[in-house]
């Protein structure tokens, strides 16, 4: 308590002003967060509202026909199957290379080299997807033809840094005592890595792979160069260009026919649904496996 002669520190003009400033900044920060959430809700709601109407059985089973008569049912079956094939192949290409890379960088490499190679991976991560698309086009497609596996390759290049980094992080979380114990028991380095260290990181790897998949499932630019001249029929032949959901959306969005717009929204809904669900699962997995790993310590 202050004596009557001393200034009242809690009611003076300055403190009131400073508190007011702080409070208005807090309000602004809250408003900003609410704005972001509002934008998310608006976008997802737009997609859901406009897409749900066109999301019927036809959408998943019929194929597009840009010259369709008014009553004829069309859908995006080939795009859905195509996306599955392309993304599936991309995972198969990126996952082994990413895991092996992370093993090298975390377990085997000398410190200097590991830093340089990690930097290279981080730089690769920042290269725009459209540049990767041109690269794969020049390397594989020009003169030879488009193919779904070439699209997968481009997506795998985009995934590689993400998978490698996620695996690296989980590998670093495994306590060194495990490795030392295994080596002390006489196991070779490769045995140690695959039987002792890696099994503990499966959760983190799955999370990283899921997040990377969610990231590239919506990528359109590399597909433009490698798998855009696809037929209308449903196909899973990776040596031919296949249709895909992102390209379907891209091409349908700029058509004049409102019915195609509806289908674009429906495709967007499917894509967003997949991406959001995958991200949420990965996030839940991260929280749980981090709890388990750090809880074990």
């Amino acid at each position: 308590m202050s004596t009557p002669a001393a200034p009242d520190l809690f009611r003076s003009e300055r403190i009131r002003r400073r508190r007011a400033v702080s409070r208005s900044v807090e309000l602004l920060a809250t408003a900003a967060a609410l704005l972001a959430v509002a934008v998310l809700v608006i976008v997802v709601a737009s997609v859901a509202k406009r897409g749900a109407g066109a999301l019927n059985v036809d959408f998943f089973t019929k194929t597009p026909d840009f010259a369709a008569l008014p009553g004829q049912p069309t859908g995006a079956a080939n795009a859905i199957v195509g996306t599955g094939v392309i993304v599936g192949l991309a995972i198969l290409m990126a996952l082994p290379v990413g895991i092996l890379t992370a093993i090298y960088l975390n377990e085997l490499a000398p410190r200097r080299l590991a830093n340089v190679l990690t930097l290279a991976l981080d730089v690769l991560n920042g290269i725009p997807a459209i540049v990767i698309g041109i690269f794969v086009f020049v390397l594989f497609v020009n003169g030879h033809g488009q193919a779904a596996w070439k699209a997968s390759f481009a997506l795998a290049v985009l995934m590689l840094p993400l998978v490698a980094r996620a695996t690296q992080e989980v590998l670093a979380l495994v306590p060194n005592s495990y490795r030392e114990a295994s080596l002390a028991l006489g196991a070779a380095k490769w045995r140690t890595t695959f039987s002792v260290v890696l099994p503990q990181t499966v959760g983190g790897i799955v999370t990283g792979a899921t997040l990377a998949t969610a990231r590239i499932a919506g990528e359109t630019a590399p597909l433009l160069f490698t798998s855009s001249l696809a037929g209308n029929a449903v196909s899973h032949d990776p040596s031919q260009p296949l249709s895909s959901l992102p390209l379907f959306i891209f091409l349908s969005a700029e058509q004049a026919d409102p019915k195609l717009h509806e289908q674009a929204w429906a495709a967007a809904l499917v894509l967003i649904g997949f991406v959001l669900v995958a991200s949420l699962i990965a996030r839940a997995f991260t929280a749980r496996s981090r709890q388990r790993l750090t809880g074990e310590r």
């Binding site: 026909d65 840009f66 010259a67 094939v85 599936g88 198969l92 497609v141 020009n142 003169g143 030879h144 033809g145 488009q146 695959f194 039987s195 890696l198 099994p199 503990q200 499966v202 855009s228 001249l229 696809a230 037929g231 209308n232 029929a233 196909s235 899973h236 032949d237 990776p238 040596s239 031919q240 700029e254 058509q255 004049a256 026919d257």
Partner: protein
């Protein structure tokens, strides 16, 4: 040794299952691919201009011969690029190949297989088929005329009061044969256009907003009041857009109809060595001609694995296929064009 359920074993098991699944998918896909190619399939890409007719051809030809024709309407520029890069079996372009493009394509031929007109569409609460002349249109696209109530537009449309509305110019942002046709026409009616902008599948547009594909242009116009743009007449009809009556060299205002197209096609019957025909802005003696007509070409490689399938399809398109054109305002090509096409097709082999 018993296999116990350790984490290691489950990881190995998971990886094995994934690899097995991948192998199965791979095997199924490859076998599926072989089965598909024996049925007969050709893929093409290119101009959006003939796309409505090609869509009908795809259905009819598969019903008639069992061969599947895939077509991606990515624009004439895309068609030229695709056949050059060997990513398709045939290309389609309203813009004929230049000598440079022929040498880059390295063993390609072109032949006209479709004949139609480019309509100039607009979105205004005014009657359909307003009058328009070439010089005024050129000035609009040059950015010199910016409002619908400009005196020059009003003068050729007596009896209709032009409202005060900004003109939104729309053009094709992608490589387009329709652009080639449209700008070739503007070249003939405006010296300033010819020296400042020129013609091509893409040009340096002085003003306006770009859209991709004939559908894209139609879409922007239908959404924007006051907009003017160009696309094949089939798109104007399909999207219920109004289009101008253009003044031809005989000082008459003509519309993009079968009559107008047929009259224009008579203006050039002499093929260039590369089968090119130019029927833009025909001389005055073709009084019924619509001034912005064009042939559209199919681009083929002289040497192709699918040579026989391609020859059969193009021959069918040149002959039987033409009957499906008129409802979509594609004028059946004249007999001498069919003959020239068949002669060109004989060069193609596998």
């Amino acid at each position: 040794m018993r296999i116990i359920a350790t984490k290691r074993n489950s990881v190995i098991g998971l990886i094995s299952v994934l690899l097995a699944a991948a192998a199965t998918v791979g095997a199924v896909s490859v076998s599926g691919a072989e089965a598909r190619s024996s049925a007969g399939e050709i893929s093409g890409a290119g101009a959006t201009f003939p796309a409505p007719l090609i869509a009908v051809w795809q259905q009819r030809y598969q019903a008639a011969r069992g061969v599947k024709v895939n077509y991606n309407a990515i624009g004439s520029g895309g068609g030229i690029a695709a056949i050059t890069q060997k990513t398709v079996d045939f290309g389609a372009s309203d813009a004929p190949l230049s000598p440079d493009q022929f040498s880059a394509c390295n063993g390609c031929v072109q032949l006209p297989w479709v004949l139609s007109a480019t309509s100039v569409m607009y979105n205004m609460p005014l009657p359909n088929n307003l009058h328009m002349t070439g010089p005024i249109l050129a000035d609009i696209y040059l950015g010199k005329i910016t409002n619908w109530n400009d005196a020059r537009i009003q003068k050729i449309n007596r009896g209709i009061t032009m409202p005060d509305k900004h003109i939104t110019v729309v053009y094709r942002s992608d490589g387009s044969g329709t652009t080639y046709n449209f700008t070739s026409y503007l070249n003939t009616v405006s010296r300033q256009w010819r020296s400042q902008v020129g013609h091509g599948t893409t040009v340096n547009w002085p003003t306006g907003v770009g859209a991709r594909g004939s559908s894209g242009v139609s879409g922007v116009i239908s959404r924007t009041e006051g907009a003017i743009g160009y696309a094949d007449i089939a798109y104007a009809l399909k999207n219920h857009l109004k289009y101008f009556s253009m003044q031809n060299r005989a000082k008459r205002f003509t519309r993009p109809t079968l009559v107008g197209i047929r009259s224009a096609s008579l203006a050039d019957r002499k093929f260039s060595p590369t089968n090119e025909l130019s029927i833009v802005n025909p001389p005055a003696r073709f009084r019924k001609a619509y001034p912005i007509c064009t042939y559209s070409y199919v681009l083929l490689r002289i040497q192709s694995q699918k040579a026989s399938l391609l020859k059969q399809f193009v021959t069918w398109a040149l002959t039987t296929g033409q009957q499906y054109g008129p409802p979509l305002v594609f004028q059946p090509i004249p007999a001498y064009v069919v003959a020239r096409g068949k002669a060109t097709l004989r060069k193609i082999h596998s």
